[in-house]
């Protein structure tokens, strides 16, 4: 149950710690980093979806005035690398497997020269038969993307918990349908880029706008065949990540080998087109068969899901994403018997990967629609079906996820109220309808090695200000502000007196970075522990100065005093200086660690995947124009359970931003492929929501407390885009009785469905 605690910094509407730099344009993003002698790099990309490289001749390009280095696979170890499976190369070895794959690269004095040089690289290609559809690719005789991957299958999952046959037999009604999700690009307004420098001592220094620095370091070290210590990665300001900047692409690696060969720093920034072709790894697209068995009273008795997921040409994070799509949602409702089958399949397209939601938006697009179908068939209000099945604190999912806090039912109540659901349902107007969906997400996930933790160091400067050293990194979401708040709360100082460092793999301890909605919960716990360590040292020092017992001390607003005797105090600065400037002096500095109580998935994929689970409910009222098929969202409502809200104004931004991406996914965004070649890889034809495209949104946070979280907090970042597409589709069905099963929901599809329905 929710627990009210009084905080002085946590939960306050503080200002962003990095706001000033951003409104003045002073923030240094990757493109703004300029090093002496720096060259600019450009990448030659495969024009074919699948083709053997018979010959590459770079001599003309090398002789062009202004060119300083040309690299091909010959300049690499030809050693494959990857997050889960090592299957991609820095530059094509032998053949290219998708349009946009990196084949060669040039470093030159300016971009125009680099581009001219690319045109002078002569590649002799032998086009090979290619396969673009995951289902086709699984068929016998389909062209093989990787020779050793039979039927192009990268991952197979086949898991049954309970007795699925019996459960369906015991169901009163069965709903069965197929849904198709779509790829989606992150479209961070800043594209991926890197600036790499190589010292003859053998050390690479790479500035990256990555959201996972230490994972990047690990992968880059592996691909270059050097120890991690020889790679230093420094995070620039990051212009948005959403999963797309988690180093599953070759940008930094190409910059690194160009820098080594040229002996000069090299900057490589993706153009927008490159970003679509081969930059960030888009959302995994899936075909999902769902079969649900319901009892008459609305309880879900059985669930069988079968997923075919498109991996693209190489495996980025899709192996983990497929697992999430197959199983995560079983933590949202109370299930007993579930079966899940999933196939991740190689095709000759861009590798797919991590995007806010990580498999959840695809799964929820399918499952939340199937539940809605069930509700309509049973004649039960979808709000009630959700209530009947909603997970609660203490629930353990069939896959072993242990829920320590859950306010899903509270979120349903809030949604019902904010939407005025009952009244709107009662006086339903023609062509308008209501839709609803629930979601669950993790707060961190144990999947990169047996570690789901974080660490941080805090030092107190001589002026009493605290500096957090953290390698997690800020990508725009505001985590640095939340970390400063957590440290300030624990230390008993003002938030203005806490600063946080940039992420730098040489100067900060190992941190996994921004993914899986983990930072507030996991890094927050680490920072809190570090602050607590530092506080003990401060109190130790202050106890000598105040001639009091350290256990009796408290701190507030930067002052340390005996509880109840505020008049007599020492400041944090006094204590820090007194500890430093004396015989045997030492700075006040302390570290803290945290590792969540989660389990690394094994073959059976059983075990608690995260330390805490966050929940949410979304609802929409839409109006459908029967003449054009156009869908207008009249009102949208979101209730989120993220435990204690540490940084309210930032949390609101997460909800609103996630929702906007959800609307883009549902209604607007779509990349078309023609024989594996993206047709609309630019912002003119791949539209993302603009300010005028977003409907009015009302949202609120549940009163919630996560016992294992820092001050009761858990994750939030991804929750808000997970169910949106299903919500819209459910509302369209309620409005006009047609169900759209492929994304995005375009007016053409709605109109076609309406026409077919008659």
């Amino acid at each position: 149950m929710a627990k009210a605690e009084k905080f002085s910094v946590v939960g306050q509407r503080v200002q962003r710690v990095d706001g000033f730099d951003k409104v003045t344009g002073e923030s240094k993003y990757i493109a703004d980093i300029i090093l002496p002698g720096m060259l600019l790099g450009k990448i030659l990309r495969s024009p074919y979806p699948h083709a053997r490289i018979l010959r590459i001749d770079t001599s003309k390009a090398e002789h062009l005035r202004g060119v300083r280095a040309v690299v091909t696979a010959e300049d690499t170890l030809k050693r494959p690398w990857g997050a889960f499976f090592a299957d991609q190369y820095i530059l094509s070895v032998g053949k290219a497997r998708y349009v946009g794959e990196e084949v060669a690269a040039v470093a030159a004095v300016d971009l125009d020269v680099a581009e001219e040089a690319l045109a002078l690289i002569d590649v002799e290609w032998e086009p090979l038969p290619a396969v673009f559809d995951a289902e086709e690719a699984m068929k016998a005789g389909a062209p093989l993307v990787h020779d050793d991957k039979k039927r192009n299958i990268a991952v197979t999952l086949d898991i049954e918990r309970g007795n699925i046959q019996r459960a369906f037999a015991e169901s009163d009604i069965i709903v069965e349908d197929t849904f198709q999700s779509a790829p989606q690009w992150h479209c961070s307004i800043e594209t991926i880029g890197s600036v790499a420098e190589y010292a003859s001592s053998g050390k690479y220094t790479i500035y990256m706008n990555s959201q996972t620095l230490f994972n990047a370091r690990y992968r880059i070290a592996a691909a270059l065949g050097v120890p991690e210590t020889d790679i230093r990665i420094i995070q620039s300001a990051v212009g948005g990540g959403f999963g797309g900047k988690s180093c599953d692409d070759n940008n930094a690696l190409v910059a690194a080998i160009l820098a080594r060969k040229a002996g000069k720093p090299v900057k490589v920034i993706n153009s927008r087109e490159e970003e679509f072709l081969a930059g960030c790894r888009p959302r995994v697209f899936m075909k999902i068969d769902v079969k649900l068995g319901f009892k008459k009273d609305g309880r879900i008795r059985a669930k069988h899901i079968r997923i075919i997921a498109d991996n693209g040409a190489y495996s980025a994070k899709a192996p983990a994403i497929t697992g999430v799509a197959a199983m995560r949602h079983d933590t949202c409702y109370k299930y007993s018997d579930v079966k899940t089958q999933a196939y991740l399949v190689y095709t000759n397209k861009i590798p797919t990967g991590a995007f806010r939601g990580f498999g959840n938006p695809s799964a929820e697009w399918a499952v939340e629609q199937a539940i809605d179908i069930g509700a309509h068939e049973l004649g039960i209000d979808p709000m009630e079906i959700a209530r009947i099945n909603a997970a609660e604190s203490g629930y353990v999912s069939p896959h072993g996820n242990r829920v320590t806090s859950c306010e899903l039912k509270q979120c349903l109540d809030m949604t019902e109220k904010m939407m005025d659901w009952k009244k709107k349902r009662a006086d339903k107007k023609p062509n308008t309808g209501l839709g609803l969906a629930c979601t669950v997400h993790v707060s961190g996930k144990r999947h990169f090695g047996d570690y789901d933790g974080s660490s941080a160091t805090i030092k107190i400067n001589e002026d009493g200000k605290a500096l957090i050293l953290s390698g997690e990194g800020e990508i725009g979401q505001g985590v640095h502000t939340a970390m400063c708040q957590i440290a300030a709360e624990e230390l008993g100082v003002r938030v203005e007196d806490v600063e946080i460092s940039k992420a730098d793999t040489d100067l900060t301890t190992f941190c996994l970075g921004a993914f899986a909605s983990r930072l507030t919960y996991i890094s927050g716990n680490a920072v809190k522990n570090a602050a607590s360590n530092v506080k003990q040292q401060l109190f130790q020092q202050a106890s000598e100065m105040l001639e009091a017992n350290a256990d009796d001390l408290i701190s507030h607003g930067g002052r340390i005093f005996v509880k109840g005797a505020e008049g007599k105090f020492v400041t944090v600065a006094d204590a820090a200086r007194a500890r430093l400037f004396r015989h045997n002096g030492a700075p006040i500095v302390g570290s803290g660690s945290f590792d969540a109580d989660s389990v690394l998935p094994d073959k059976t994929r059983f075990g608690n995947e995260s330390g805490a689970y966050n929940y949410g409910v979304q609802a929409a009222q839409v109006e459908v124009d029967r003449e054009t098929g156009q869908v207008k969202v009249l009102q949208y409502v979101i209730a989120s359970d993220c435990g204690t809200v540490i940084y309210p104004i930032g949390a609101e931004g997460q909800v609103e931003g996630g929702f906007a991406q959800g609307i883009g996914y549902a209604l607007i965004e779509g990349l078309q492929f023609d024989e594996g070649r993206p047709v609309n890889p630019n912002f003119s034809d791949y539209r993302i929501p603009s300010m005028r495209d977003l409907p009015p949104l009302t949202h609120a946070f549940a009163d919630s407390y996560e016992p294992t979280g820092p001050f009761g907090a858990k994750g939030l970042g991804e929750l808000n885009m997970d169910p949106t597409a299903a919500v819209i589709s459910n509302a369209i069905f309620d409005a006009v009785g047609v169900r759209i099963k492929t994304l995005p929901i375009t007016p053409e599809k709605v109109l076609k469905a309406l026409t077919e329905k008659g």
Binding site: T628, D685, S690, E748
Partner: protein, 250 residues
Amino acid sequence: MVKFDYFEPKSVEQACAFLERHADEAKLIAGGTALLIWMRMMLLNPHVVVSLARIPGFDSISFDPKDGLRIKAGARHRDIELDPAVREHYPLLYETFRKVAQPRIRNMGTIGGNLCQGDPLTDPGASLIAMDAEITLTSSKAKRTLPLEKFFVDYYQTDLRPGEILIEIRVPLPARPLGWAHIKFLPRSQEDFATVGVALVLRGNALGKRRRSCAAKRSPMIESGRWRRWPRMKSIPWMTTAAPPITNVT
């Protein structure tokens, strides 16, 4: 992008002379919002770029009740939108130019560039055709005037001849009362190019004699591919089709 030389003639005659001298090598630039994108994509690779931006008066807009509205080709969308005479006498044009992209593009793009680009997805063409606009083109050899409708040939193709410059668009003063509408159908994003654009003008004493409409069509990227059609004038006898009521009457 290719390297090019950049010239800024101070008169239309000079500009024509440049065009004649450099023939195939040269491209005109007005606002540059379209040309620049093509050049970046290497779809156009001119070695000489001739700017119309420094020709005095090339962006003027004038109105005379007898003669109608004369818009010089260098006038920007925003200039036309904000022109008092346009607002008063040509409400359809005001409505149309307000809807061209966003203010930033309207501050840069010119009407001449828009029409000569020959992109049927853009907005002004349909409304200008519906208003019986005619255009004047000139080269160092000859000058000609033709109805705008005749100018548009095909997708990205116009009747602009080598060496020619579009200098002026004239729109006759419409008889009152005037019924009109401009509809820009934007199914995906409000910031998109139109999927379908329709400009409609109704005239005659009782607003009932005849109805004219023209449409620029395109369907969204997703699924069905584009319709790459130019607006064509359709004169439809009034009363023959059931049409929604026309609310804009001035």
